[in-house]
Symmetry: C2
Subunit: 773 residues, 2 copies
């Protein structure tokens, strides 16, 4: 745990240069606009500890899988989010000295990520070895409005000298992924061009053949006037630059504006990429930095209006939740249904791939409640478009007749994870994709989605489950052997309760959806079942037989569901019995010891009770929570949020708050000692859930929207915004009362602590809370 970031409600602030933590700060201060993104690297040369990172959404490399012994069915590659050309670079040379914060004295250093307006700012004074002092200010952002562009305002002021200063803005494509499996380079150069103040380079990814053209245009001002500089074009292998030498006087500010774009062949014809880049550059250069920044602030203000959360009385918590919301908004905008939410977003390259079940289980509810309905819908359509690949994936594993197994992680629908115990066995992910359809329809009421897309996916997933179970003559029930549940501290177990449950639930929901679609649009239904050869009677009766005869491991004594068969053979003990210094377990215990222990990485049975809470009473939840939570080490970033929500529901307010803290400032405080690799983007949605579903007690069911809000001790108030079926609401909770404000024209009926409340358009209601649940 590190706490060098200054607490501030709207900004992430590094006061003074924390050289050793630079990679952490770079992760935290990442910028993105859903299309391009980058880590908070320095523009000028830096020879110290840094992880250069620039990313273009959707562009990946299929890195050959690294395994000890190949086993049949293994994916060929593990998709890497590609580290793309560095377009922020501006080298500064003062006569024969390079500006490099690793080799000069640094004073008055301040780096600020302004979350309200969406830009990164940095200022410092550097004393070079020669004694020359240079003041630097930089400000940059990835534009939301021009979402393939980034722009930098970089100013230098000699404080105690006059000199010729050489300024070298460049684009550098000689980058590598730090985690490349075989140390390969992933990019080839296609072409490069330079012109006065401009430079372009087009690179192509190996194997996948994506083209990305990066371009830049440089303008310079001195004394508030544009400078007509001389520039020397420089071209190396995969590198273009313009070298500009200027006379700079003591006290005079020289401002460099660097306009940059990154266009990919995902969105343009690859033959015209450089031409398009040039036009794009010309357009944004005409618009100018100030106008672009103004638009950026407006765009962020619009976002915050929709999904800000305010916490009064706890700056750390306020900063934490805003940071999470900010990063989620930077990562995914929902504008492009081909994209998804990578585990590190644009903040790092670890894990690779872009889509895990995190999207459906954690991120979807965030976007459902905070963005336009089409954003969540696009997340669903993304999977619909991968259905054929999911069917092929299941075929590779021996399934047939249209059964689909969605991949554990993917870029294009193909499986690209690299461990058999995950790839082949962590199949509960398939259930999460079905659940997301249910979640979306429940929240939006958009049942037509089932007609157009949802049912086809549900049938394919149900076909998988129907084939994946087998009849145990011994138990006289269906069993599911050899799976890995959400708790990845177990592998290859039998009858994981969560997996069995979500499998049977999928079958039930599919049967229900068949009925709905038949009723809503018999013609489309007839077309669908014909196209996918759905034998309604037989497939439904098989599904029903499995639903009716599924095995659910259960402990009669404790009246709890068992995480898996044989769970009670383990040496059961609470996490508090683990000797000090042995946690986190994954850094201290050998893997086999973790596997055979009772300790749980993240919610497993409790994940099921979270998803399907309507099907279990509170006593059941309490018994299972009391049994499992004490054995849970929460070594997944996705764990504390679910437990926080459930603790809130059970009225265990201290536990809820403890779990909330573990999730909200996970990256800001580098809780797991791994923020240098990038931020935990998908778990940030979990943090939001812990607030809105936990403290806010928000639920949506057949009766509509409801809340059971409370304010954790020490907070004066908590306010969050929700979009629900065209209505924008703000729910504000204090220790005394709950106020629901309706920003929309239409009235809405909802429940607060079980009591119905009608809130007219553009008005608000306050309810005094007598007693917290």
């Amino acid at each position: 745990m590190k706490q060098y970031i200054t607490q501030d409600p709207w900004n992430i602030v590094e006061e003074g240069f924390h050289r050793d933590h630079n990679e952490i700060t770079e992760s935290l201060m990442s910028l993105g606009n859903g299309r391009i993104g980058q880590r908070g690297n320095f523009e000028e040369k830096f020879t110290g500890k840094t992880l250069q990172g620039n990313y273009v959404a959707g562009v990946y490399y299929p890195d050959k899988t690294r395994v000890g012994w190949w086993k049949n069915g293994y994916p060929d590659y593990f998709a890497k989010v590609l580290n793309a050309a560095n377009w922020i670079g501006i080298d500064i040379d003062v006569e024969y000295e390079s500006l490099d914060l690793n080799t000069c004295d640094v004073h008055d250093f301040r780096r600020v990520l302004n979350m309200q307006a969406g830009y990164l700012e940095r200022s410092f004074v550097a004393t070079l070895k020669s004694g020359k002092q240079l003041k630097v200010n930089s400000k940059r952002f990835c534009s939301i409005v021009d979402d393939e562009a980034g722009v930098i305002r970089y100013s230098i002021t000699p404080l105690n000298f006059d000199a010729k200063i050489t300024i070298t803005p460049y684009i550098d494509g000689t980058i590598r992924n730090r985690d490349a499996n075989y140390d390969e380079t992933f990019w080839d150069e296609v072409r490069k061009e330079t012109a006065y103040g401009e430079a372009y380079i087009e690179l192509r990814t190996r194997k996948t053949g994506f083209h990305v053209a990066s371009g830049m245009c440089v303008e310079i001002e001195q004394d508030a006037a544009k400078v007509d500089y001389q520039s020397q074009p420089i071209k190396y292998e995969k590198y273009v630059a313009n070298r500009i030498t200027l006379d700079c006087w003591q006290g005079q500010e020289t401002v460099i504006y660097k306009y940059a774009v990154n266009l990919s062949s995902l969105n343009y014809d690859s033959d015209s990429l450089v031409k398009e880049a040039r036009q794009y550059i010309q357009r944004i250069t005409r618009k100018g930095f100030d106008k672009m920044l103004f638009e950026q602030k407006q765009a962020w203000a619009d976002k915050w209006k929709m999904n800000d959360i305010t916490i009064d009385g706890d700056v750390a918590a306020q900063q934490g939740i805003r940071f999470n919301i900010f990063q989620l908004n930077q990562t995914y905008t929902g504008e492009d249904e081909r994209l998804n939410i990578g585990p590190k977003g644009f903040t790092g390259e670890k894990y690779g791939g872009s889509t895990y079940w995190d999207t459906e289980a954690y991120c979807l509810p965030f976007y459902l409640s905070t963005a336009d309905q089409k954003v969540a819908r696009n997340l669903l359509v993304y999977r619909y478009k991968h259905l054929q690949k999911a069917i092929e994936n299941a075929q590779k594993l021996g399934f047939r007749a249209g059964a689909a197994l969605y991949p554990m992680v993917t870029m294009n629908g193909e499986e690209c994870h690299n461990e058999w115990e995950i790839t082949f066995e962590e199949i509960h992910r398939n259930g999460a994709i079905a659940y997301a359809i249910y979640d979306y329809v429940r929240y939006t009421g958009d049942e037509l989605y089932l007609v157009d897309y949802g049912l086809e996916v549900l049938i394919a997933i149900s076909r998988f489950w129907s084939q994946r179970v087998n009849w145990s003559k011994d138990k006289n029930q269906y069993v599911m052997l050899g799976v890995t549940g959400p708790n990845e501290y177990e592998n290859n177990v039998n009858n994981n309760w969560y997996t069995n449950y979500i499998a049977a639930w999928t079958l039930r929901y599919t049967i229900e959806a068949v009925g709905k679609v038949k009723a809503l649009n018999p013609d489309k239904y007839a077309d669908l079942i014909d196209r996918i050869h759905f034998r309604e009677e037989k497939e439904i009766s098989t599904a029903q037989h499995i639903v009716d005869n599924m095995h659910y491991p259960f402990d009669d004594g404790r009246q709890v569901f068992l995480q898996q068969s044989d769970f009670l053979d383990k040496d059961l003990m609470p996490v508090s019995d683990i000797p000090k210094g042995q946690r986190p377990l994954n850094q201290n215990w050998s893997w086999d010891r973790i596997l055979r222990s009772c300790f749980i990485k993240q919610a497993d049975v409790l994940q099921g009770l979270y998803f399907f809470e309507d099907e279990f009473d509170t006593d059941t939840l309490r018994r299972n929570f009391d049994f499992y939570e004490p054995m849970t080490v929460h070594e997944s970033s996705l764990s504390p949020c679910v437990h926080s929500i459930q603790a809130s529901k059970l009225g265990m307010v201290e536990k809820a708050y403890e779990m909330y803290l573990r999730t909200a400032r996970l990256d800001l405080d580098d809780y797991n000692n791994d923020t240098e690799d990038g931020c935990h983007i998908t778990s940030m949605a979990g943090t939001w859930l812990a607030v809105v579903k936990g403290f806010g007690g928000m639920r949506v069911d057949a009766k509509g929207l409801s809340f059971r809000p409370y304010c954790p001790a020490g907070w004066q108030s908590l306010a969050f915004k929700i979009r629900f079926r065209g209505v924008l609401l703000q729910i504000t909770t204090t220790q005394q009362d709950v106020t629901v404000q309706n920003f929309s024209q239409q009235p809405i009926t909802l429940r607060v602590h079980g009591e119905p409340l009608i809130i007219a358009g553009n008005s608000q209601e306050t309810v005094v809370v007598k007693e917290l649940a």
Copy 2:
């Protein structure tokens, strides 16, 4: 399955050049003497399909482990058997044409591995592109008598031309392992020297720092007289040669003798390696090829006298069993207790490492019965010397107080496998090491071994088992969770019956051994328990409690042991139900499908019933055999032999013969399509077991030695030799009778088909067999 090798009782014969099968033939025709070895490569240049392979026992490289995600406790490296300098090379150039069987016409090609005398011979006529015809004969061997030397007689005869022929004998250290994890080279050059007709090169392995000096001396004869040739020394990076150009006349035979040595720093001071190599070369050159070959034949005759098996009436079976015995004798001689029996011996480099549990479970009984007692003892001492490393290995996994876990595979005692489900979980190997001690003492009667070495190892292994089990409150028994049994088509299972059984057996045997050692030598016992802090009373009572309360999964209905907990949840079906074209499963089914299926790779419960047959009655064996064998796919080379032995015991003679055929000609017929990687050396010991313990029914128990021999249908006779406590016996079985011949002075009492028989020194007895069991 390929059947291009000519059947012959004493030779492995390739008639005509089988270009596409060359790598298979190279594996089959490998040479070795326990110290150095090599594949059956060509001496002259060959640009076709070939796997160059030269190996020096004990010299390895710790190749960085290749894993997708690192997990705590993983071994750092997977040890590779190193492909060492190629010392056989002799390039032949006829004016401007190279002799290369890939580019010229080949006639009268014949390659023969002479197993009786231990050499490889090859002859052919090559027609070069120019039409020149060259006749070549080569003969080479790795000397048993001078066991760091190899020698080649290579003769060329122009058939239709006179020409200057350039002969370039060389040593080439620019070799790589084909299966290097990261395509690295493993050798650096230290020095090289050339002199008239001689050349030396010293290489050093990276990381491990082994030095190996290879040297050669070349003599040439024409018209039966030594030629005083001119030679041009050639030195490249890691390469030395002498280029010799001679006038050769049509019909004139030019004979090249190449004497070579490979000395390693395992046996010599690395500073004087080249000097030692030079002296060694001089010595063998003085001895000369013919004398060396004479000695080689003598040495092999001595070996065959001890362990030949003859089968009359079935040449394929005869060739198969001799090939297996021959390769085992080439791989391991027992002279050096630092060495062991690699899975591929000197025939290839796949799998890496030198020592698996194969050594204890399969190879030890072969050497016990066919070699001097010290050979088997050295195999045990090898593990004794690794005890400290095994304790460290267990410590890495969280065990303490002197608990030892022997590695799944090793070179120097350290674990160097690379899959968690094997490294961490296939812990039954630890039991095999205890069992080998029992097996050795039972066979030899050498109880003092327990005093000096055995007990210390047993206590350390027992400490591991005592900590590895845990008490299940649910079962009120000890359980062992998260293991992989011998059947590697299951991973991470609970209560593998075999593992639970061998664990409890180890504890029982350790308690028994404590008693024995206390009685045999109280002083040494006192020293030992003091040195290893053995708390006799407490540790024995813990062990006894585990022995008395171990859980053994059992099916009450079928009265069979269950391979593991939940085995009966599987969809049980015989192998014969697998659709055609889907076998072998490991090449057709995805890994998860294999894991959750009932299909068994190799004996698991049946391995236990094989090891501990005295503890179970024949009906129990029959019930378990009838239950498990039909579900067994035998996709491990170690599987058929155990089943053959048990089928013999159960009187299932057809099954026994079917299983024998699968093991005996596994490599000769390339049964598993993988002989090109090298031969399955350790399973060859299993073949021997299938003959001697299966068809021969040999057993050793407290009552001594016994046999229940029978002759499979179609065989006229089967004869095998056995050494037992100083006595050399031959057991000959026909369809009618059994003859036991005693070649030793001392008489021996044994049982044949249950009937006691006393055989005086240097005599024989024949028993007529009325009815086969």
